[in-house]
Symmetry: D4
Subunit: 221 residues, 8 copies
């Protein structure tokens, strides 16, 4: 452990990440047994003082993780211990359609767990622009907007043109056919005509929240 | 010729298309010599009474086509004989950025040549939404909107949400990297969240104009 | 509601779309609970006077939507309230093979629900051209042809060459291997040698019907 | 040479291919110097008695190949020594558009050089079906049809439905945008709804001619 | 029926294909109910005199098709009525690995059903070349070789270099990762260094057999 | 102009973007004539008070832009008027190889022009990790790191693991073959195992700089 | 069998591979019945003296293979008879994340079975570089490193820069969205900035082990 | 320099790579000026004692590099100082076609420069298998075979089946159409049915040589 990690044989949790970079070590749930998750979470709780997260974990598996004190968010499929208290960095999570809800929920829950102030705006896709324009004030007060959209992902460009703060675009796999399981939204967001929009992986609400966490870190210095 | 086409050896112009479907036979310029174009245009002018078009022809080649009475539009790279007079079907050609101008010009020039009323709106990309919203009245009066955009092609979705008339989306190869030479805009337009938007091939201002021509045909019946 | 939409928390139905563009607000079924669908449908029925549709909904879920007066079409997987009466715009839905039937059924049912006159022609793929040519009269009388085909999608080009009215091509995911789940038909239709053919997303019978609805709107002005 | 090949250092011409399989050794021109081509051609002429071909060679380079007795076909970019005399196997080379001409020319010239009876039909794309149907008799008399088409490649399906003889489809790189430099035509031909159509590489008139040569070989046994 | 097809409402079997092109009308099983298959098979048996085939049909569905006289081949998933008797055209079906067996079985069974003499060689992949070279005599006596291979598909090139008769390559979806579900074998076969190899769709044993049938047709004239 | 944009016919510069979002309107050079650029730049300088930029403009064209007071940066291909003075937001631009220099130069020059403090670290690719580790102190003091890398883009993951501040990854088109003109680096950066790394378009040094500008904006509030 | 293979009808095990190349004949499990596997394994055990392997076989099927003396490794899904004893060639199998464990297990188990000395290092992804650097001594003592990583696959580049011995990179299908089921890691490893890294197919722990076996063979000569 | 690298501002040559890993630091020529190359080469020659290489440099640029003692290989486009003397590790570079010669030349020249014994076999593509089989003795004596092939890349599988030593496959961009600029050969080599074949990037003769160098390193320990 004096090397900055624990060696559990099957995993090496990075125990000094929190210290090194201010980022929590997060456990990616899929493919891990509740026992393995239990082991890693214990190590992380013991070695650090900040929040510990397990992402993309189903309710059944979450119930089997034998570490007290965690809370489970079913919509976000997230387990959290020691969530950070909010420190005044405002993140607006805007999503285009109701099918984008799970990804938006992950972004919102992870961002809350690491201490950001989260406000959600749902179902503001650009085919009914007035729904988005009604939220201009909320968007204008944001420190960062996380923009969640599938299909053609146009919401990122429209929001990127409305605000000057960072816009983190999350393409989702919502859609069919030419949506190519999120690749179309991904490519569209990367080629947004609104300057300075940044993009994370398809369906990665988690990635967007961690990017927002990095921004809050920079803003606080 | 009683078979409905001429056999020039190197080409078989479809002489009864005008009669059969109301669509002009159009000569696609690239890869054809001025002599070959001259031969085909003569056949078409002789056998029909409507407009005859040569698309994507550069000024130098256009000057060598030895058929009197044609007019050349350099921006659209289009040669036209016997343009149709306008018959009251209003087509608005809206383009997202100044780099989309050549494709928009082709759409506008072909549409005019086949007898549509064309109005152009330029540089109304969604990153500055007020530029588009200032044209709501023009859009609302359109019988059809041709929407020309590269990069992420979001303009099609926004216009598709504003109007109830047909929206023909033309993806362009404008952009770099993840724009994939127009494939991204193409995919985005096909997955537009605005219902009933239709799409033509990348950079095909011609295709959009011909589609509008088909619509005008349906509307007039 | 004076903002033109209802805020149900989980969704913001666009209540003035009908007024704004003549297009119905349509609920995309997949991923929504019967309760959520019930809530949105009620809002839409209350705020508007036209048809309300739920697409791609299986029989089981449809039975649980607690809004009286709807009718369910199993072949099209469509729920409809207040279908519009036909207003004389003739749409021919032509499909290439028997496997394309579900997509053709969706196109036909949605088109009927929004007030178009629909005529279906089935199993007219180009490998047996006489089957299609036997329907030339029907095709010639159409205001619009919706062309549904998978595999190589050649039907769109052949029909596009036979008629002068709008041809809306719907690629389907029928086929295997190099059919690439509909991408091949999509690309083929986009590059059709018949001028002015327009294309919607893979398997989107709904999109084609809405495009036809926009055309009827333009034709009626 | 008793090993069945010559070792020129830079190349090992396969001297017993003609004997082994009845197929000529063909020299692919691009990237080879006239001197290298000269060396290989001399070996092949000395070791065998049949035709010797150099494909895709430009006029300038062809003129520098220092082996007497060859004839150059500029349209096909083909150099031939000792062409075979025709032996009554009828190959029809049908091409969709005038831009497909160079590929069709290569197919026709190579097929002639190896002793097939070639008949060309040009500009019979499916957008004007009557142009193709006027040639039904010619197609019906073919031992094999080579079908050359770019864009959406629908010609292969239509011809495949009209005839019972082998149909060898050659996709071409003609078209732009979604034509993807011939990939769309290739995929479309591979998924043709006409059973038993076979496909060669994009723009490979040569490959189609050699396939026809193999067929003639089988037919003669 | 005097139009050359029957109109069953849900399908239009092409009744004069046998007469027109010598090819049987074949029913593609997936997605069709046993009742629908029964109806089409009856029409085809009544209107023609040759073989009638249903491909890719599982044993359970095959048992429910209510048309007497058919035989079912489980390995090939093929139902056949009135198989043709062999007429002396020798087809060798060579497959690279044991996992390619189902595709090879379909090719062999369909080819037999339409009257070809079939000989199978299995597990002759190029990693153990002596296994293939031991069959040189069989290959040399073939009128056509159908070459079935997944993964990198190299077998087609090696066989194409050994024989002068037609080689019909069938890529299979055998393999994982970079095999891309058969796309790699498909591309590799299309770019074979052996001249004149032709290719059909991924896993299409049926397509290869029908192509061989067309060849036999040409050979017999 | 009271609509917030100027209508120059060929372009509609967005005159209130600076006011609306704090972002400068930037002119993308390619495809625009020096005259057109001159016209737009004049409008922007007159209507706003902040920096005005023209990106990706070659030296020859830059010299023809007839607006006094601009400075040209050849490495970055950037023209700037009224650059902002630095306001203490530290951006480190780290690049993997010497071939990535032009993209890094664009990022650095644009970031400087909009008022960020820029520090460059060059040639710190991960194949020689000690070169990067020697800069840990510089990286640790950054408010944001822009990470520029082509080929496999691994630098983003390594830096993302070392620092807690925002990491903006810019994939470049450096590399050949499987580098796929930057697509590989793009995909790799999007799937980085370091949480919260964000990505912009291939070769878009400009996009990264504008994203950093948005971050600085958020940090200053 | 004097031809160097056995002909079991359904398979032709290559009996002289061991003699010819020192490589064992390995049976790929998927798609084969326990009976077929039993037959092939018996032939191989009888004809050779070295190890015999069956890969990717699930526990249930493995239990049904009726050949005594085999041992089953569940993590690696591997059945082995007559494993070779270790001969002092040190292979380090390093994996990036815990989800890569199954592929690493296959690599390790196959390498052990063919007589290599295997040492595993797990969970040393580059986002926590100190975990890898703590193993520099182990890496430095390796004769070969097998590097197993999904997502962006950066581990191969970092290890490639640290050691001079052969580095065999195995991309895995771990990750989602832009990871494209392992294609991203594959492309990234192929374009590694560390010179001389070699790559095998996605998830092919087996391929990496066999490559290491070939290396050991070369090293021993 | 005590940090193990030199900081030239524009580049950081890795001065202790030779010591750390036994691999030379190699300068990739494209995009670097002769002056920059001169600077880096001088640093490397001064800091180390082994060979220094510049790859992919054209004759003109090579002549301007102002460092005495280098030799230029035009076929390989390689500049070398202080080539290592051969140490008895036999590398056979086998190439499929004459168009693959430049890539084979780079592999051979780099391998020689770093001290390997190189033997070249050219034009042994699998379409004429006897050309390859005539070299079985040479292949059998190799410590490693580098296999260079474009198009379908089948040579790697055939050689992989013939020898037990390491086989390093180099796909080339030779071919057209479905060859996809080398991607097809790359995919085919990765899915080779011959176990344990490893692959490097398209056209990377350099990568293959460096991989062979790593093997020699392992073999010598």
């Amino acid at each position: 452990m004096n090397e900055g990690f624990a060696d559990l044989g099957y995993a090496r949790p990075d125990l000094d990440r929190e210290q090194r970079s201010g980022l929590p070590e997060v456990v990616y749930g899929p493919g891990k047994s509740p026992e393995a998750i239990t082991g890693v979470v214990r190590e992380l709780l013991a070695a650090n003082t900040g929040p510990v997260l397990v992402t993309r974990i189903e309710a059944g598996a979450a119930a089997e993780v034998a570490v007290p004190g965690g809370t489970y968010d079913a919509a976000a499929r997230l387990l959290v211990w020691r969530p950070a208290s909010a420190r005044g960095f405002r993140v607006v999570v805007a999503s285009a359609g109701t099918s984008d809800a799970p990804v938006a929920a992950e972004a919102a829950a992870v961002a809350s767990a690491v201490g950001l102030d989260v406000h959600e705006i749902r179902d503001v896709g650009v085919a009914g622009l007035h729904r988005l324009l009604a939220e201009r004030e909320v968007l204008g007060a944001a420190d960062t907007v996380v923009c969640v959209a599938g299909m053609e992902g146009a919401l990122a460009s429209v929001i990127g043109g409305l605000v000057g703060c960072p816009v983190i675009a999350v393409p989702t796999s919502v859609g069919y056919g030419a949506a190519l399981e999120g690749v179309t939204a991904l490519l569209a967001m990367l080629t947004s005509c609104a300057a300075g929009v940044v993009v994370v992986n398809i369906d990665s609400g988690f990635g967007a929240a961690m990017a927002a966490h990095r921004l809050a870190h920079a803003a606080r210095r």
